[in-house]
């Protein structure tokens, strides 16, 4: 006989049956549906919307959000948050341009290294000094903003002579912008890391139940530091991409990306409580935001209303994409 919990808690039982019984629509599909609706509406609004030129525009804008968002996502998945991406991006953007002037191509590895180190510091503030990530990163973000201003109080323009060095990002292969190719690469790397490597999967375990993870021998310090390093790298890359695209660095560049990066993550359906979500969600989130930004202008929505509509749409989209079956309480 098998009495072992065969019909234990009727409540849980009911849920199980329900799950087994009817097909649940995964929240991710709602996100896709939302994207489709947006595309449809904007195309009806103006047929140029689907032009190759415009799709490229959307992709380029989404690219930046995606790269910084992927990093942000890792810290959110693990149950934390990274408010320092803004400060880091500002700093990296000026550092990048300044160093392009001086050390040339070395600027790329240099800036990525800065992202890694900074992320590692954030991680340790959380894991070793045990300061909640929200506050730790809020603080370090401020510090980086100051550093950016100390490096260069003014936006620095990349010298026209050095534009060639920015071609790594600004150039294109077979009419496809390097920016998009690089972003695709970053996405793939993040996807593989989170789906097919042990430390990547550990991020989900830790985010879902940190006590269990700790007792099961997962190195939660290492894992969490890793998540914050990823966030640092994402922000640094995004800043590099931006600085190349804008042919200059700006000590105030990052500010807008603090909330936008989080929005991109959450709009995709990743829960701020951690553990559920993933790169695909962030991909969709970034494209929803980008499509809105672009579409509203393509169909000529009055600039006065755009912010309000954007606000309404992110609320609506989270209403759709937020997977309540995985998150016990909505906070």
């Amino acid at each position: 006989m098998d009495a072992w919990g065969s019909r234990n808690a009727a409540g849980a039982q009911e849920r199980t049956r329900a799950l087994a019984g009817r097909v649940r629509i995964p929240a991710i599909l709602y996100a896709v549906g939302l994207l489709v609706v947006l595309l449809l509406v904007f195309t009806l609004g103006n047929r140029n919307f689907l032009s190759l030129y415009n799709l490229n525009t959307i992709a380029s804008y989404a690219a930046i959000l995606l790269v910084v968002g992927l990093g942000q996502m890792c810290t959110i998945l693990i149950g934390g948050i990274d408010l320092s991406v803004g400060g880091l991006m500002s700093f990296v953007s000026v550092l990048f341009v300044v160093s392009v002037k001086t050390v040339g191509f070395l600027a790329y590895p240099l800036c990525i290294a800065v992202g890694v180190i900074f992320g590692y510091l954030n991680g340790n503030l959380l894991t070793r000094i045990r300061i909640p990530s929200f506050i730790a990163t809020l603080g370090t973000g401020g510090i980086m903003t100051s550093l950016a201003l100390l490096v260069s109080p003014l936006p620095v323009d990349a010298p026209a002579a050095r534009y060639g060095m920015l071609e790594i990002v600004n150039g294109s292969v077979l009419h496809v912008g390097n920016l998009l190719l690089l972003t695709l690469l970053v996405f793939v790397v993040f996807y593989v890391l989170l789906r097919f490597t042990v430390i990547g999967k550990s991020i989900f375990y830790v985010g879902s139940n940190i006590t269990m993870s700790w007792m099961s021998g997962i190195d939660i310090v290492k894992t969490r530091n890793f998540a914050y390093i990823l966030s640092g790298v994402g922000a640094a890359l995004a800043a590099i991409f931006l600085s190349c695209g804008q042919y200059g660095g700006d000590p105030a560049l990052g500010k807008v990306y603090i909330l936008n990066s989080i929005a991109a993550v959450v709009v995709g359906g990743t829960a701020l409580t951690g553990g559920t979500g993933g790169p695909i969600n962030t991909l969709i989130g970034a494209f929803v935001l980008s499509t809105m930004e672009n579409g509203m202008n393509v169909v000529g929505v009055n600039a006065y209303f755009q912010q309000s509509i954007l606000g309404a749409v992110i609320v609506a989209s989270v209403f759709l994409t937020f997977d309540r079956s995985k998150v016990s309480m909505v906070k």
């Binding site: 609004g45 103006n46 380029s60 003014l154 026209a160 105030a252 500010k255 393509v298 006065y304 759709l320």
Partner: protein, 345 residues
């Protein structure tokens, strides 16, 4: 699940309603400015609307909201929307943005005029569709306001001042700041006790000024990089009981500032005529678009140049306010270079 589908449809319908009837027209005029939430930026919009009425063409307004990437994306969106049948006037969020915008415009073959900021080493004439870069020189403006401020001291030319910068990193702020430095260098009797950055923000200007007044007793004047901050500083001075005794100067020429000057709280400001700015920019790019202006043949001195701003002090405040603020003047745009003051190197 039904819930979800319903929401989706609602959303779709909503957006459709919003976007209904928004189709591209013959040639569209478009301006890209920083924001719609600052009075000075709104002057551009008003000017542009006035001009659009004159030529009877549709106008689109884009805003960067301190986000260069957004600015660029919106410009591309506008190009897509109008199928590149558009005449642009752009106030780049950062100097460096000018380059990426220029490349975008070239790629789409759209004529445009830029204002305020571009990298010094980027030459307009390297880009066939970049008609010209025009700017009010922040430097002389700041020199004027600073000089006016010095006059108000008990012993003119001798005293102590505090200063408020705008957002550190903004080009106009930098130019104006250099203007102040120049005046300080020329007047050793004047001492800059302390400065803060109030980020163009009135409330922050108020807070910082209050603290600075405590830190630096016996201040003779307050220099600020724009009128919003100046008005915040005046409010702080009022509470310290110093309003009127210690004068403030600003820049941009906001309506309120004129009243402040009349009331004797402020000494001077500089009106950067946003209306003219917008109208001139649009007029030039439209002319180029319609082939009435041959960009290639323009001499370099007409491709990058400055136009003078209107200096305002107690003497001419009323006059200027009447001419520029209370009613939008009708400008003579037959000669684009009527106000040309000097070429930019």
């Amino acid at each position: 699940m039904r819930k979800g589908l319903i929401t989706l449809t609602c959303l779709g319908v909503l957006l459709l309603v919003i976007t209904a009837g928004a189709f591209a027209a013959p040639t569209t005029l478009a301006i890209s400015i920083r924001t719609l939430s600052s009075p000075y930026q709104v002057m551009y919009k008003n000017g542009a609307e006035a001009y659009a009425k004159i030529v009877g063409l549709p106008l689109d307004v884009l805003t960067t909201e301190a986000n260069s990437e957004k600015g660029l994306t919106d410009i591309k969106a506008e190009i897509a929307r109008t199928g590149a049948n558009v005449a642009f006037y752009v106030d780049p969020n950062d100097a460096s943005d000018a380059v990426s915008i220029a490349k975008t415009m070239e790629a789409a073959g759209v004529y445009w005029v830029s204002w305020w900021s571009k990298p010094a080493d980027v030459k307009v004439w390297d880009y066939p569709h970049w008609i010209c870069h025009v700017t009010f020189d922040g430097f002389p403006a700041a020199v004027f306001t600073a000089t006016e401020l010095l006059k108000t001291f008990k012993t003119p030319g001798h005293g102590k001042i505090i200063a408020l910068q705008g957002r550190l990193g903004d080009t106009p702020n930098a130019e104006r700041w250099q203007g102040l430095q120049k005046v300080l260098a020329d007047n050793p009797g004047v001492q800059l006790l302390e400065w803060e950055s109030a980020e163009w923000d009135r409330t922050k200007a108020y807070n910082d000024t209050r603290a600075m007044l405590v830190a630096n007793p016996g201040v003779d004047g307050v220099w600020t990089a724009n009128d919003d901050m100046a008005l915040g500083a005046i409010q702080a001075l009022k509470e310290a009981g110093l309003a009127g005794k210690v004068k403030v100067v600003g820049c941009d020429g906001e309506p309120e500032m004129f009243d402040a000057i009349k009331a004797g709280f402020a000494a001077a400001t500089v009106l950067n005529d946003g209306n003219y700015q917008a109208e001139l920019g649009l007029a030039m790019s439209l002319a180029a678009k319609q082939g009435k202006l041959d960009v290639a043949s323009l001499p370099h001195k007409y491709r990058q140049f400055e136009i003078p701003a209107v200096n305002v002090n107690a003497a001419n405040a009323d006059q200027v306010k009447h001419d520029y603020i209370d009613n939008i003047p009708t400008y003579d745009l037959s000669n684009f270079f009527a106000r040309w003051s000097r070429a930019l190197e």
